[in-house]
């Protein structure tokens, strides 16, 4: 079924009786050409692009819970391409281009809203880095504007411009950055993949990866064994466990990132605003809730929930930056499991096991990567060559020291981000 205003009109006039499932709930077959482990945003997008771009449809996405239940359903919905370093720069640039046509491509409105991202800076040194980053972005073909104090004040009059502990010197404005409706991204990819014949198998946990002579042959699942020629792992925070099934140890530690939403409010924040000194970022959803987040809870965890110290720190940062939100009430907080790499940048690469491909290490940046990740991972799996936009997202960069992408400069080792 193709979605459109006309279709809504027709259904509305006929009692909304004609709607059909957005995807099937098939039984798993005994064998597929390709199995994608993980029915989150990246796994679903990978399946979608395998089908759409490469014409491969004998594919299953295996999801242990419900599709879209991982980080794609629990993030702060920010979409941007404002990275500094080679590797990230071209990858997120590629992803943003895919975002820009995604609703039409999927025929599912993902509410991609290019309302602009502003990264504030608070010292001359930070401004210099913003200029460097802005140049990287522009040279990459993306957009960036360095705002001075007055420029930020004009765009974001509600910030504390006069009394802030960390005075605002200016901002790096990325007009094409913005937000999208997170669940819709998962569902849109799911529907698009299903329409092209991909089997989405929910409530199917992979419990083992079968390897013969150094090459994958299939998986064991809670719904029985399934054979496959190729297996792509897209399990985000759980990458450590899924890779371990293939005998691999990854440069990944899983941590908690909390996010927050307030009760609905009339429009008051029109952009995405990032406050680096306070590790705080915020936007307002179309429904009216202020959606915001902060830094990691800073301990390895799979609990998908955080604790008070970081939550309070985020709120304190919010009050420091924009004290007008003091009477907005926090409605809900949640935690995602972040697959943190040593340098804070992702991995899309072959694994040492034949036919097993890795898509992991998304740290806090996975949502905005979704179409780019799926698109380039599909390319890698389908063609056995890295997509040019993701060729630097290599697994061996830590061992060799070549091409590390430590955007924050906090250290290419764990727990320093």
């Amino acid at each position: 079924m193709r979605f459109s205003a006309l279709r809504i009109l027709k259904e509305g006039l006929t009692g909304n009786r004609g709607w059909t499932p957005h995807w099937r709930s098939p039984e798993p077959k005994s064998e597929y050409d390709i199995i994608i482990v993980g029915g989150g945003g990246h796994g679903l997008a990978t399946a979608y692009y395998l089908a759409r771009t490469h014409g491969l449809t004998n594919i299953a996405v295996l999801e242990k819970g419900y599709i879209g239940g991982g980080n794609v359903g629990r993030n702060t919905t920010i979409v941007r391409a404002n990275y500094n370093l080679p590797g990230n720069s071209e990858f997120y640039s590629h992803a943003l281009k895919l975002w820009e046509g995604l609703s039409e491509d999927l025929n599912y409105n993902v509410m991609h809203s290019q309302r602009g991202v502003i990264n504030l800076f608070h010292s001359d040194g930070q401004r210099d880095y913003a200029v460097r980053r802005a140049n990287s972005m522009i040279i990459q073909g993306d957009d960036a504007i360095v705002l001075d104090k007055a420029g930020v004040r004009k765009m974001l009059p509600y910030l504390d411009h006069d009394n802030a502990r960390f005075p605002i010197y200016g901002g790096l404005y990325h007009p094409r950055g913005g937000t999208a409706r997170h669940d819709a991204v998962a569902w849109g990819f799911a529907r698009g993949a299903d329409m092209r014949g991909v089997d989405l198998i929910q409530n199917c946990e992979v419990t083992g990866i079968d390897i013969e002579h150094g090459r994958v042959t299939g998986v064991q699942t809670t719904r029985g064994p399934i054979r496959a020629k190729k297996i792509g792992l897209a399990t985000a925070g759980r990458s450590g466990q899924t890779a371990a099934m293939a005998g691999l140890r990854l440069p990944i530690e899983s941590s908690i990132l909390q996010a927050f939403v307030t009760e609905g409010l009339k429009p008051v924040i029109d952009n995405v605003v990032t406050f680096g000194m306070g590790h705080f970022y915020i936007s307002q959803s179309d429904k009216g809730g202020l959606v915001f987040g902060g830094d990691l809870d800073f301990y390895a965890s799979y609990a998908a929930r955080g604790n008070l110290p970081m939550m309070e720190h985020v709120m304190e940062a919010g009050m420091a930056l924009m004290p007008m939100i003091g009477k907005a009430k926090l409605l809900r907080s949640w935690g995602g499991i972040m697959d943190m790499t040593p340098d804070g940048s992702p991995i899309i690469d072959f694994s040492p096991v034949g036919g097993l491909y890795l898509n992991c290490g998304w740290c806090y940046g996975g949502f905005k990567a979704t179409p780019g990740s799926g698109h380039t991972f599909a390319h890698l799996i389908a063609t056995d060559t890295p997509h040019p936009a993701a060729a630097r997202l290599r697994l061996d960069r830590f061992a060799t020291g070549h091409g590390l992408m430590d955007e924050e400069g906090t250290g290419s080792q764990h727990n320093l981000h």
Binding site: R249, I252, S254, F298, L308, A399, H414
Partner: protein
């Protein structure tokens, strides 16, 4: 979250900073693989783990904390390195 500092007693986790899995530093000549293991690769267990915390706002001790990454249960904490100190 409260962490049982062996020196100060149970304290709010806001007094601590975290530094990941407690691993033994290899010898300088242990080879590239051993160093890659130490600096970058992680078991990343979903379950019991032993990790390093620094009680920066308290006694300034580095601790090895036995903790469960799924439940956040903490079963113990010892002074890191104390086992080597006579």
């Amino acid at each position: 979250m409260r962490i049982p500092c062996p020196i100060c007693g149970p304290r709010d986790s806001r007094e601590f900073t975290y530094r990941g899995a407690a691993l033994d530093r290899p010898a300088p000549d242990a080879g590239a693989d051993a160093w890659e293991d130490y600096v970058h690769l992680r078991d990343n267990p979903a379950g019991p783990t032993l990790d390093l915390w620094y009680h920066h706002a308290g006694c300034a001790s580095w601790l090895k904390v036995s903790r469960n990454t799924v439940t956040h249960e903490i079963t113990g904490a010892v002074l890191a390195g104390a086992e080597d100190k006579a």
